[in-house]
Amino acid sequence: MAQQLLEVTDLHTQFFTRDGVVRAVDGVTFEVAAGETLGIVGESGCGKSVTALSLMRLIPVPPGKIVKGSIMFDGADVLKMDDDEVRGIRGNNIAMIFQDPMTSLNPVLTISRQISEALELHLKMDKSEARKRTIELLDLVGIPSAKKRVDDYPHQFSGGMRQRVMIAMALSCNPKLILADEPTTALDVTIQAQILDLLKNLAREFRTAFILITHDLGVVAGMTQRIHVMYGGKIVEKADTAELFANPKMPYTWGLLRSIPRLDERRKAKLVPIEGLPPDLIAPPPGCRFEPRCQYRREICREKEPELEHIPNSKPDHEARCWGTQQGGWLVDTDWHKEVGDTRVIEEIKQEVAQLPPEPKPGDVPPPPTAI
């Protein structure tokens, strides 16, 4: 492998609460190369945000604690740094874009104050330089008449604009890595498209590495090179993006893919939900964490926890944490497209298709009204 920008090894982050120890991140290992975009996908509570916060050492202590593991960023271990050194990295080399642009900007400071702060602190710019750079940044992220708006307060901006301000802030010190934690979840679809487009262009232009954390498989499909799927504090499947969508192997990934309706679905098929609830991370299941909800489970799944291992007959970097997909397992050669779970549904769909009238040609649409 080439020189990695970020190498996370066996990261364990736990929260010590009155009810017990919450193992929010439980042995996560991954790496990010310079300029690469990595997607981390999972439901709420699977530990994806805690992973991101751990990378920046932003976990509140107590109750949280990074118990074990190492985070090598650019050759230095973030976990061994003292507070001053971490502060030198935060915002400077690793920046973060938060989910909620409404609450992550300080409402009593102007936009210019908030962006300049990092510039003055990390890049030792003086006030006028920092202001000039702030305006450039706002221009770059597509805020119209940036010069006029730089002295506005956050409440004068709309949600999409605030997210652009957050992105400008993240970019301010030319970081090598940007963690984007659900950057578009709070936004409307048309604004989401604008922001994703912006992030994509920035990643290309500045060769910044991104970690894109989201629950929306649609968002990562168009944005990332590699995807890690997380469940119950662990990575359960990793692969490059095309491979993961073409040839997913872990039953949880299947569950995610077929439980959401797709905009381009040809006809109304019944959704196949994942039964049950995500695991309780204080007392997770003893074996595979997905076992209680998995329809392909076998005896071994409840007894022993599988390791993240390469899947036979697939691309070299395609790994899954599942007994069924290991050498000689019962899911290795299963084609997920056939695994809709209910064969009756497939038959129904087939019959429906046979009865469908032929698709209308585009020419059938009437021309616009001539007189109004």
Binding site: A193, L256, S259, P261, D364, P367
Partner: protein
């Protein structure tokens, strides 16, 4: 599927069918005409005078047929939730008519309205805020039964237990409190409460957007099952176009207080006529990198304008790539361009 009957573009009368979004009133459970809901903006402390209005809903026409699902989509702030509430008379509409099964709701008094409310219910977006944390599940679901004098005592308890079973919860949960449940289970409680009075019509206001991805499918499936079983009619409000496509028979697209397009599901998603619908559809990411790399995105610039002071003429013209002179001057009429396919645009087309 309404893919049949090729239209006759040459016929000028056909194109000019007016905005009567009601073809056959007999079949319709709900008829909404020129509905307006304005919220006044006031100034002054003692003598409050009105200085303007938020035109949340500004003249919409549509109808809902019996046992169908009408999806209502749009971005936040476009007035979709206000529409739902104005229909149920939770807000007093500023103007317009709301006819439910032939009865004009806007003129009904308290007692008559309460009787009508039995027939129409609502499922709320946030399962954490819409259940009283101090009431047990049994009381939450049983309350509508008491209010409408449907059941008391032992009968009520049995009915509550049955409702819990219907929505897929354990009937012995009646003495538990909402905090003991997960988001998906709470939403089921909300659904059971709505079902308690055996309504015909349910307004589902973003019922799944607060839920986790793997839980969303459970609730969608439940709503579909219940619809089949109890012959329910839904007005399904959501911002997620994929979900709306999945659950709806017909879909209405709203923008800034107006319905810009209304059509059967297949027509709307395959051949949207209004540029806003086209942009909205192209903006939804699809979980498939192969498809995603080939798609052409229409990226709208700017934000939704303020409903206090909406743009003149067509409200979408400030963000529309097709906009011409006329768009900023004349508000386009809501016209039936194809059978059962209405759009409000001067230059509709694929």
């Amino acid at each position: 599927m309404a893919l049949n009957t090729p239209t006759k573009p040459a016929d000028p009368d056909y194109v000019r069918v007016r905005s009567t979004a009601t073809i056959d009133s007999g079949k319709n459970l709900l008829d909404v005409k020129a509905l307006k809901m304005h919220f006044p903006l006031t100034q002054g402390i003692i003598f409050q005078r009105q200085v303007g209005a938020v035109r949340a809903v500004d003249g919409i026409d549509f109808f809902v047929e019996k046992s169908e699902t009408l999806g209502l989509v749009g971005e936040s702030g476009c007035g979709k939730s206000t529409t739902g509430r104005a229909i149920l008379q939770l807000y007093k509409p500023t103007a317009g008519e709301v006819k439910f099964d032939g009865v004009e709701l806007t003129r009904l008094g308290g007692e008559d309205m309460r009787k009508m409310r039995r027939r129409m219910q609502m499922i709320f977006q946030d399962p954490y805020a819409s259940l009283n944390p101090r009431m047990t599940v049994g009381n939450i679901i049983g309350e509508p039964l008491e209010v409408h004098n449907l059941a008391r005592g032992k009968e009520k308890t049995e009915r509550v237990q049955e409702l819990l079973r219907v929505v897929g919860l354990n009937p012995y949960f009646t003495n538990r409190y909402p905090h003991e449940f997960s988001g998906g289970q709470r939403q089921r409680i909300g659904i059971a409460r709505a079902l308690a009075v055996e309504p015909e019509f349910i307004v589902c206001d973003e019922p799944i957007s607060a839920l986790d991805v793997s839980i969303q499918a459970q609730v969608i499936n439940l709503l579909e099952e219940l619809q089949d079983r109890f012959k329910l009619t839904y007005l399904f409000i959501a911002h997620d176009l994929s979900v709306v496509r999945h659950i709806s028979d017909r879909v209405a697209v709203m923008y800034l207080g107006k319905i810009v397009e209304l059509a059967d599901r297949v027509d709307l998603y395959e051949r949207p006529l209004h540029p806003y619908s086209q942009a909205l559809l192209s903006a939804v990411p699809i979980p498939d990198p192969a498809v995603e790399s080939k798609r052409k995105r229409i990226i709208l610039t700017g934000d939704v304008p303020s409903p206090v002071n909406p743009p003149s003429g067509c409200r979408f013209h400030t963000r529309c790539w097709k906009a011409q002179q006329i768009c900023s001057e004349v508000d386009p009429e809501f016209i039936e361009h194809e059978p059962r396919h209405w759009a409000a645009c001067h230059f509709p087309g694929v």
